[in-house]
């Protein structure tokens, strides 16, 4: 973990309340899928933990939703502004545990960390299918980016304004993808449905309000099958068997 200053290259809205933030720094960046960065937002006491959607040789690409005052301030920042990040944080996904075919199941911004995972899986020669769920069509993000990688994308929206009407589990039932391992990130109830219905080994990226983000304040502890675990340091990614729904 280290503290580093990044410069905003772009910070653009890409979907309803959703921004794509490209950050550059002056040295190589090493971070894996499922890991996150903790951003100091000027004027706010605690940092904002945000998962990494893509890695550049000297930067990162993040997606964030404006959900409160801190992210609203972030959405107003412009190219050239700087942000101080802690990174890399957390324990991420395990692409190496996929035998040949991976299913990625994202809900809302859960599509973001799974995008970097898709690239890692493809680089390792695995086949990847993505099922992405959103509330409505104007919240859809990253679908074209997945398709540009050659990944088949199945969309579900709650209101039926795009793709399958209903939940990601409905889209999975319709698409019948082949997979030996799945990876999911999104709302807790969605991940619960995915983890308890899919008959394959899987991993889920959990979320909790964090203090330090780096494993020493014990603010984001989750009770798991093998005892208390820190979402920020032991996770955020956990095997589905570990999670007590």
């Amino acid at each position: 973990m280290e503290k580093r200053i990044f410069t905003i290259e772009s910070n653009e809205p890409v979907a309803r309340d959703t921004f794509r933030l490209v950050l550059r720094t002056d040295a190589p960046v090493a971070i894996c899928s499922g890991q996150f960065v903790d951003i100091a937002v000027p004027g706010y006491y605690l940092r904002r933990p945000i998962s990494v959607s893509d890695v550049l040789p000297d930067g990162v690409i993040l997606y964030y939703k404006v959900v409160g005052e801190g992210t609203l301030v972030m959405s107003g920042m412009v190219p050239g502004d700087t942000l101080e990040l802690l990174l890399p944080l957390g324990a991420g996904f395990h692409p190496e545990k996929c035998v040949s075919d991976a299913l990625l199941v994202g809900g809302g911004l859960g599509a973001a960390p799974l995008f970097l995972l898709a690239k890692e899986l493809l680089a390792a020669g695995k086949k990847v299918t993505a099922v992405l769920g959103f509330k409505r069509a104007d919240e859809i993000c990253l679908a074209e980016e997945y398709r540009a990688l050659g990944v088949p994308v199945h969309i579900a929206t709650l209101d039926g304004s795009a793709g399958t009407k209903g939940f990601v589990t409905d889209a999975i039932a319709t698409a019948q993808p082949v997979f030996d391992r799945f990876y999911t990130c999104g709302p807790l109830l969605m991940m619960k449905a995915v983890c308890t219905t899919l008959d394959a080994p899987g991993e889920a990226s959990m979320e909790e309000r964090m203090g330090c983000g780096a494993g020493f304040c014990y603010g984001c502890t989750l009770q798991t099958q093998s005892g208390p675990r820190r979402v920020c340091a032991d996770g955020p990614v956990f095997d589905k068997e570990e999670i007590l729904w």
Binding site: M1, E2, K3, A40, Y44, Y45, L46, R47, G70, L86, E208, R209, M210, G211, C212, A214, G215, F216, C217, Y218, G219, C220, T221, L222, Q223, P228, A233
Partner: protein, 304 residues
Amino acid sequence: MVKDLSVSLCGLRLRNPVIPASGTFGFGLELADSMDLNVLGGISLKGTTREARFGNPTPRIAECTAGLINSVGLQNPGIEALVSDKAPALRRIYGGVIIANISGYSVEEYAFNCARADACPAIDILEVNVSCPNVHGGGMAFGTDPQSAAAVTKAVKAVTRKPVFIKLSPNVTDIVSIARACEDAGADGITLINTLLGMRIDIKKRKPVIANKMGGFSGPAVFPLALRMVYQVAHACRIPVMGCGGVARAEDVLEMMMAGATAVQVGAENLRNPTACPEIIGALPALMERLGIDSLQEIIGIVA
């Protein structure tokens, strides 16, 4: 001129007065890969109870203006894990002063835990937490009344030869009477302050942000209050004080020391900046130069 940052605390020499506060630095081991721990004057370890505790339900953290509320609720692996695993492991990589922070639900539990910590050579100082606002039926209940604070002090002093600091709560009407009761009962020092009981409400959900409704508020917002209490206690007692509460900069360290603190703990700031302590220590010599201070020891309690 080379600046002397060292201070003497109950006969122990600290290379500098800066100590990460209990609960904001884990057991030190969590940060060993991120910094050189040996620049720290001391480390106060995570509060420990007799049995392992999961702590409170989440959310345990709420952001505030110039601070945060925490309701971790003394999540810890229990006293045996502290003395047989955590403290010895830290000692192997850290040469400074190791402070065990001890909690309990009864006078007997405090004494039991302190007796176990006394037998652990890795531990230099016992900091007895009678001020945790996040556990029911223990913690703060002992620190808000002079008699029960004295009873805990007496019981733990009877089972250890290590220096005993009592960590006090600011959630009281008369901090001086409680500090004096601890001193009279044999305490070797006082740490203050612990967090202030606070609350936030999510106005969209119409519910408290913290699962446990309330929690301990800390951060720069509490610094003037902490400084005032350090000043009052340092002037009313003969035993040394570790000042704690809202310290975020080298300037705050000097203020605390001028108010009477022999050592200074940094808490909430670590949560927003894991390298806050090394940065504060690094800034001290230049600040001392600017203010004409050669030795930190000489400014302790200099404000009458």
